[in-house]
Amino acid sequence: MTFAEALGCTAIAFGPPLWVFVVFIARDPLRIILFVLGAFFWLVSLLLSSILWYAVVPLRQTLVFGLFFSIAFQELFRYLYFFVLKRAQRGLDKLSASGMHIAGVHSLKNARHMLAVVCGLGMGTMAGMFLLVNVIADFSGEGTAGFPASVYVANVTVPFRGHGNYHFCLMSTLSAGILILTHIAWTVVFWDGCHKKGSAVPTWWVGLVIVILSHYVSSAISFYNEKKMYGLTLGVQLIILLINWMFAWYVMGGSVARMKAAFGLGPAAGLSTPRTPIVDETDESPAPTHQRRFDAHHVET
């Protein structure tokens, strides 16, 4: 692989998340902080997985064991992040309730799905980075995978685990890209479930089950990579991505009617006209009302 290929693989995996970051996150300092915090939470979950893996000596070679607990820790920290944010929000509520204007409080209060997107992207980016960084580093030389696996000679033990074709790096790249985007949806759905639990909605557990289950499935399916069934792996991971995004869209209040309206195919009537564009509170032009409300605050103080 050449430098161009290494660059290409990086761009394929991190290109879409990069634009999500640029368009939805980069304008708001608070979102950048939460993005980094998401990455940090994922790192801590990795640390715990590592400690556990290191401690349980007999199971170090058992991949399934490590995999199981790694995902468990990741979901645990997704919840912890939600918990911490909620506590932070309560404190900020008290401040803003007493009539003070604090920048960013609004986005914390009124755009919880956007928060989930931001934090999910943070976790996903870190996960994707750890998945890909060594692959890219190892592939940045001139060779491609396959030769050691093709050597069957006595006295040279090279276990056959490889892929034997030069698409290996691209496959890892696509996998990582899908993973990052799926993390966003997972966080939206997961936090929505947590939120609904707090609000005593009886179906609160559905989202959580979907997230955890699909997380396990998307990892488990990758075992088929050893049998060179990249198509299957990537296909399943892509389906999981789509399912989770559909669900995320649904919990965000999406519907076919909205879809039609958004693309100008159906009437917007019957839908509540948005008072605030949830995805970007700081963008002034599409939301004059929202701006006015803040001004009112200002006047009051």
Partner: protein, 701 residues
């Protein structure tokens, strides 16, 4: 990367969601296969005017593996029908000499893997790395334009070792690794099918061995000095002069105080060289090239040592002396002999006169030398041996002296005409200084070397043991007779111990390592760095610290000489006492070595007093101030230092267009995802519910 970090990396790879990797392995292990059993790489030497040998670029040379068995493959490489660009040629050692100059010349070949299976004899082809006329520049005939010198039958007249390859050559003798290269790499991925070059991916190799010295010896030494001057770091080395020691012994010893001094033409020099070379630093067995002569000389020394007292007193009466000289670095422009003669001219041989020492040896000068007998390649199974003389000397007034010794030895002259020329031999250096020293060179060849592996990595396992031992015994007996007659005027009472020759042959040549037999195992008992000493290497090498790194052959030969010629001192019971004796400086006639009695089997060690000494084998070129390195008078060889990152790895190379394709795809992905994100941003107020809290009724989450 620290250990713990690595663990975390590992777990990240293993555990995170897409375990495409296996536990404990990096992707790199699935890409690159390192072949590291071979430690033999061609390295660079430089002399006053040239650089020779090999090197890779700093990051290694990469090319597609191509197996060359005939010129057809070379044509295929020339045409490059597979568009592979650069090639690494894998070639059987048997074909190497044949294609060496083509491999060196072709620019699309960026590296060579030389494969030598231990089990397979090299056959009749032969490989000598030396030139057709070895040591031509420093030869006594170098200015003789009419002289046709082609002693060494090789297909590469300049000598494979003396080509400037500017590409790496790795020697591989591990059968498993050869199989990997030939079968797994070449046959599986690269070998053309029905004459058609294979499609990518194809198997490639990266050879890394970077040399720090370039151009020529003076340039390198000057740069080294400048670096040291700038940084004050004298440990930085780019290249080092070749240096070791000759082993000499006088019998009887001279003593200036006792007026026992050399007289005009009173010294008989029995000499043999103990070094050979190869492109590959640790592959210099030199069995026929050097060791056969060394064993012969050691056998003569042993025979005389048995009757040391008798020989010495007889010699003293005639005021004649015998000088044993095992010379080092002779194969690289006569380093040892040129230094010995240089020291003689400076009256510093064997040591400088000193006022602080009571009993001193006399200084030997060139006119003390009465005869030179050189043993050069003895063991080849041809059977017959010839004496080689210089025609001018032989047709001069010294003819009678030569004939006398010749008669003692019983050898016939290879050429008795006045145009007779000496083969490459240390004796030439004597004649360069004084063209009237009688002498001859004994070898198992007449007009061309019988040895097809003269100075090469393959000069090993080619001799027939029984015939070689016979030949060595025969030459040793003849030489012994000549020596005793000349020096002591006695032709009887001295016998060559055939068993001793057999033992030495077994140790030096038959065994895989030098300490695998009894006598050399005992000989190496007190030597440092045993792991190095046991290696079959005769290359002179460079010296960081003299003692630790000096060549195995010299250190072992020294012990054997001391064992043969030395006298056990009674009343010296410890190594420390023995070492103390050398430090006393009461005399410089004797040296003292603490060692086992090689011919017994007990563990008793003794302090040996002997006349065995080491004299420097470093070219005078590095001593003489403002010496003109281009003059060709003395050897100017320096060895380049190489970067420690030496490696050979194999891998598959993807199609060259693949990376371009990936890159373009990535650009498309970037553009499309940007468009989608901007679109989503625009329509998201419509697409989703803007009041996430509204449906629950709890605005605070």
């Amino acid at each position: 990367m620290t250990h713990s970090n690595f663990r975390i990396y590992l777990i990240a790879i293993c555990v995170v969601l897409v375990p495409v990797l296996t536990n404990g392995q990096r992707v790199a292990d699935q890409i690159y296969m390192k072949l590291d059993s071979s430690t033999s790489q061609c390295f660079r030497l430089l002399n006053g005017t040239h650089q020779v040998g090999c090197q890779s670029k700093e990051n290694g040379n990469t090319g597609i593996i191509y197996l060359v068995e005939s010129s057809a493959e070379l044509d295929a490489i020339n045409q490059d029908s597979g568009n592979y660009g650069e090639y690494i040629v894998a070639i059987d050692a048997r074909h190497f000499d044949e294609f060496a100059s083509a491999l060196q010349r072709m620019p699309s070949i960026v590296g060579v893997l030389l494969m030598q299976r231990n089990s397979e004899p090299l056959g009749s082809s032969g490989i000598s790395e030396d030139a057709a006329c070895p040591n031509e520049r420093t030869s006594m005939y170098s200015e003789d334009a009419a002289h046709k010198c082609d002693w060494n039958p090789t297909q590469t007249a300049a000598g494979v070792r003396f080509l400037d390859w500017t590409k790496p050559i790795f020697l591989i003798d591990n059968a498993t690794e050869i199989d990997i290269i030939v079968k797994s790499c070449w046959e599986t991925f690269n070998k053309p099918v029905d004459g058609m070059a294979r499609e990518f991916p194809v198997c490639a190799a990266t050879l890394t061995q970077f040399m720090t010295a370039a151009k020529d010896a003076p340039t390198c030494l000057r740069r080294q000095e400048m670096f040291a001057g700038l940084s004050g770091d004298t440990t930085l080395h780019l290249c080092d002069p070749l240096i070791d020691e000759n082993i000499i012994a006088f019998l009887p010893p001279t003593n200036k105080t006792a007026k026992q001094m050399f007289e005009h033409e009173s010294v008989f020099v029995l000499t043999a060289r103990m070094d050979s070379f190869s492109m590959f630093s640790d592959r210099t067995p030199g069995e026929e090239s050097a060791i056969s002569g060394v064993i012969t000389l050691l056998a003569v020394a042993n025979a005389i040592g048995q009757k040391r007292e008798q020989f010495s007193s007889a010699a003293r009466q005639r005021k004649h002396y015998l000088l044993f000289a095992l010379l080092h670095g002779e194969s690289l422009d006569y380093i040892g002999s040129s230094r010995m003669l240089y020291d003689m001219n400076q009256t510093k041989f064997p040591v400088e006169a000193s006022s602080s020492v009571k009993d001193q040896v006399d200084q030997l000068t060139i006119d003390h030398i009465g005869f030179v007998l050189e043993l050069n390649q003895i063991g080849s199974s041809g059977g017959e041996h010839f004496a080689h003389v210089d025609g001018t000397v032989y047709s001069g007034i010294k003819r009678e002296k030569i004939d006398t010794v010749l008669k003692d030895t019983g050898f016939s002259l290879a050429d008795d005409s006045n145009t007779s020329r000496l083969p490459p031999a240390s004796y030439q250096q004597f004649l360069k200084h004084s063209h009237s020293i009688p002498g001859f060179v004994i070898g198992d060849y007449k007009t061309k070397f019988n040895n097809k592996y003269y100075n090469s990595f393959a000069d090993s396992d080619n001799l027939d043991a029984a015939k070689a031992i016979d030949a060595i015994t025969k030459v040793a007996e003849s030489s012994l007779k000549a020596v005793t007659n000349w020096v002591a005027n006695e032709s009887t009472g001295y016998t060559i111990d055939r068993d001793y020759i057999k033992d030495l042959y077994d140790c030096f040549i038959t065994k895989k390592f030098w300490d695998e037999c009894e006598i050399l195992k005992r000989a190496t008992t007190y030597l440092e760095n045993k792991a190095i000493v046991r290696q079959k290497t005769t290359y002179i090498g460079t010296q960081g610290s003299m003692e630790a790194r000096s060549s195995p052959i010299k250190r072992i030969a020294n012990v054997l000489m001391v064992g043969s010629l030395g006298e056990k001192l009674p009343n010296v019971d410890t190594k420390e006492q023995c070492g103390h004796l050398s430090g006393l400086k009461k005399n410089n006639m004797y040296s003292y070595f603490w060692q086992l009695d090689l011919l017994q089997s007990d563990n008793a060690s003794y302090c040996y007093q002997s006349t065995v000494m080491q004299t420097p084998a470093q070219s005078p070129a590095f001593l003489i101030e403002d010496y003109d390195m281009t003059s060709g008078k003395y050897s100017t060889w320096v060895e380049s230092v190489w970067a420690p990152s030496v490696s050979l790895k194999l891998f598959l190379r993807p199609p060259p267009r693949y990376s371009l394709w990936i890159f373009l795809t990535a650009m498309v992905v970037l553009l499309v995802s940007m468009a989608i994100c901007l679109l989503l941003h625009r329509i998201s107020p419509l697409l989703i519910d803007a009041h996430p809290g509204a449906d629950i009724g709890d605005p605070s989450l």
